[in-house]
């Protein structure tokens, strides 16, 4: 059973009587422990897909199952709970709370899952250790470099031990070298058994992931654009992972 199952999912916006299909009849499965990227030009609907996958938004039509739970039926409160326990987010602009220090930022999700103060501290320290930031606990986000801030954000995403980690352009605001460190971090997480989904339009990043899902005009493209997926840049030998060219057909 796949971790995420999307069946005929559509997201329709109405703008002044005009119907805009940001997602159009998307059917998609993502399994446990997969490391995949969602690619596509801007305006293609990849952000919408990520919002729906990440339970930030609910679809207009279709069904989604996350870890066996029907998402489209869940109330906003249940969605918040699912985001809290099963999903970790990493954003392009880090989205740390500037008034809180590093540890407090990492503790934030646990506050909403009702974990006691002492355990919060222990788990936050552990998560920060995983991203190798144990030496900057008391700093404010503004006192950290971009790479460090993104690592704090990753620690925050990890701290509730979620099954899925979403990253929306995680390296978009970082230089190449720092970006590579962050990507290596994601790869490690994926190897540890977590499902990691990267949303990007950067071919170099897409090239790193074994599976690439391309969105074009709200639909999943049958054939991944090689240029967009960064496949042309890879030496043949390095393209170890088979490019996934079609959505996995759900096993009924």
């Amino acid at each position: 059973m796949a971790l995420l199952e999307l069946r005929n999912v559509s997201k329709i916006y109405h703008l002044g009587g005009e119907e805009i299909r940001a997602l159009d009849d998307v059917t998609l499965d993502i399994g446990i422990g997969e490391f995949c990227s969602i690619i596509g030009p801007s305006g293609s609907g990849k952000s919408t897909l990520m919002h729906i996958l990440g339970c930030l938004d609910s679809p207009s039509k279709g069904t989604i199952k996350l870890d066996g739970t029907e998402i489209q039926k869940a109330s906003t409160r249940e969605l918040a709970g699912i985001r809290n326990r099963k999903i970790g987010f990493v954003f392009q602009f880090f989205n740390l709370l500037p008034k809180l220090n590093v540890v407090q930022n990492v503790e934030l999700p646990m506050i909403y899952s009702g974990i006691g103060g002492r355990e919060r501290r222990v788990r936050a320290l552990k998560a920060l250790e995983q991203v190798e930031l144990s030496n900057r606990l008391k700093n404010r986000p503004s006192q950290l470099s971009g790479g460090q801030q993104q690592r704090v954000a990753i620690a925050r995403a990890l701290v509730n031990d979620p099954k899925i980690i979403f990253a929306d352009e995680p390296t978009g605001n970082l230089d190449t070298h720092t970006g590579e460190i962050i990507l290596a971090l994601f790869r490690r997480l994926s190897q540890e058994g977590r499902t990691v989904i990267l949303v990007t339009h950067n071919p170099e990043i897409a090239a790193v992931t074994p599976r690439r899902i391309e969105i074009r005009n709200g639909k999943i493209a049958d054939k991944v654009d090689a240029k967009l997926a960064g496949l042309d840049r890879l030496p043949k030998a390095a393209g170890s992972a088979e490019p996934v060219t079609a959505p996995v057909v759900p096993s009924a």
Binding site: H51, L56, D57, T76, R77, A80, G81, R83, N84, R85, F89, F91, N95, L96, L97, K99, L108, P109, I111, Y112, S113, G114, R156, N160
Partner: protein, 461 residues
């Protein structure tokens, strides 16, 4: 999110914007302290009025006053007997609800008092029975009250209040000593009477405190040798309005009581063209039970009407009216003051709401982040409500403290006879009201924050 966490977050938020929070709190602080100050001032007034009421006999006292025959009974004028001692005896025998009765014969016109080479005029000289002292709540300080025997023999004795002593023999403030006039002779309208007793000095709690402080200061000055003893005799500087405190106490202190028979025989019969019957001016009656006041009044009235053959040449006067007036006045003062203070508290609440709205719109992104990592609408709602409540809580506590200063400030502007009294009840009420207002002020901003769309707030700059 637990409530404790929410409170901690709220406190941090307030601490992060110290000046802004302080300004916001100021509204609540002023509201709470003005509410308490108002209540304390009214409470003081109420205490003062009640003291005065008790000083003149309390609510159990009923007074029968002689009055001219009403217009519609003018043709029966010649049959009108007036209030007499026979009425007193009749009430004593026939009215079970009446505890004690004392006849009172005020001397009209009020004679001049003279003693010690001084002259004093007062307005409360009356011939009474000894029991009058109890009805009017008098306490003897020096000497004794005259007895029924003194009355029987119409002895030339009298008992005076401190006001009369001050006028004739000098007050403690002027002479520096508490002069005991017992044994002195005082002329009442030219007839010599021996002062056999003096009542204690009556004053409100407030006046007593002020006097004690002044006495202590003077004693200290004397000890340091600072008094100027060669400044000559004290001059009158015109009407000394504040002497003796409020009217009720001043009246009580200016009492001169003589035995009823002495007043009648020695003073009143000396005046011409009066009928032989000793007409009384009033009767003071103490009733048995205040809860049966209506019954007692009916009894008294019925007996009096029978005795006076239906001619209404008397009137019943209760202190209930006075007590009711006090209640109405206090009620009104409390209502109007409370309304104004309540409005200022409300304005404080609106200030909080305003700031909370501003605060959430500058924290849209933060709210989005919190929601993205799993905060539900309820968590955000709680956080905002707690923040506004914490502002109101801290403001309310500060208000409790500053109310003290505010009261002192008000009193220094407008000195009153009645010291303000801060009650626990008013403090609890004001504090509770500020908390409720804090919660209410947080509701709308909290609802707004809780309903924010996650994606839009995450994208907000």
């Amino acid at each position: 999110m637990s409530l404790f966490n929410a409170i901690v977050v709220g406190l941090k938020e307030i601490w992060a914007h110290k000046f802004r929070s302080l300004l916001t709190m100021l509204g609540i602080i002023l509201g709470v302290s003005s509410l308490i100050a108002m209540s304390a001032l009214v409470e003081g007034m109420e205490r003062g009025s009640r003291e005065a009421l008790i000083a003149v006999g309390g609510v159990e006292k009923v007074r029968i006053e002689a009055q001219p025959v009403p217009v519609e009974q003018r043709n029966l004028r010649d049959f009108a007997t007036g209030v007499t001692l026979s009425d007193v005896y009749a009430l004593q025998r026939s009215a079970p609800e009446v505890l004690t009765v004392s006849p009172e014969m005020r001397l009209e016109p009020q004679p001049t008092l003279s003693a010690n080479g001084k002259v004093y005029r007062t307005w409360n000289i009356a011939g009474v029975w000894p029991v009058q002292a109890q009805i009017m709540e008098h306490t003897i300080e020096h000497g004794r009250m005259f007895t029924a025997y003194d009355d029987e023999l119409a002895r030339s004795v009298c008992v005076i209040g401190t006001g009369v002593r001050d006028g004739l023999f000098g007050s403690p403030e002027e002479t520096g000593q508490d002069i005991n006039p017992v044994g002195q002779t005082m002329n009442i309208g030219g007839s010599p009477f021996t002062i056999i007793g003096m009542f204690q000095h009556y004053e409100s709690e407030q006046d007593r405190k002020i006097r004690e402080v002044r006495l202590a200061e003077e004693a200290q000055k004397r000890a340091l040798g600072l008094t100027n003893r060669v400044s000559g005799p004290k001059r009158s500087r015109g009407w000394n309005g504040n002497r003796g405190g409020s009217f009720a106490f001043r009246m009580k202190n200016n009492t001169v009581y003589l035995p009823l028979n002495s007043a009648w025989i020695k003073l009143r019969s000396g005046q011409t063209n009066l009928p032989p019957e000793p007409r009384l001016s009033e009767m003071e009656i103490k009733i048995r039970d205040i809860s049966k006041l209506d019954l007692a009044l009916t009894e008294i009235r019925n007996i009096m009407m029978v005795r006076h053959r239906g001619i209404e040449d008397f009137t019943l006067r209760t202190q209930e009216d006075w007590a009711e007036q006090i209640n109405t006045f206090i009620h009104n003062a409390r209502l109007s003051g409370g309304l104004i203070a309540g409005i200022s508290l409300l304005v404080g609440g609106i200030g909080i709401m305003n700031i909370m709205l501003a605060s959430i719109s500058e924290r849209i992104r933060e709210i989005g982040i919190r929601k993205a990592v799993g905060a539900g609408g309820l968590d955000i709602f709680t956080q905002i409500v707690v923040e506004s409540t914490v502002i109101a809580f801290v403001g309310g506590l500060t208000g409790l403290v500053t109310s003290y200063g505010l009261i002192h400030l008000i009193v220094s502007f407008t000195p009153t006879d009645n010291a303000p009294i801060i009650t626990i009840g008013s403090m609890a009420f004001a504090f509770g009201a500020s908390l409720i207002i804090g919660v209410l002020a947080g509701l709308i901003p909290a609802l707004k924050a809780a309903r924010m769309n996650v994606i839009q707030s995450l994208r907000y700059d």
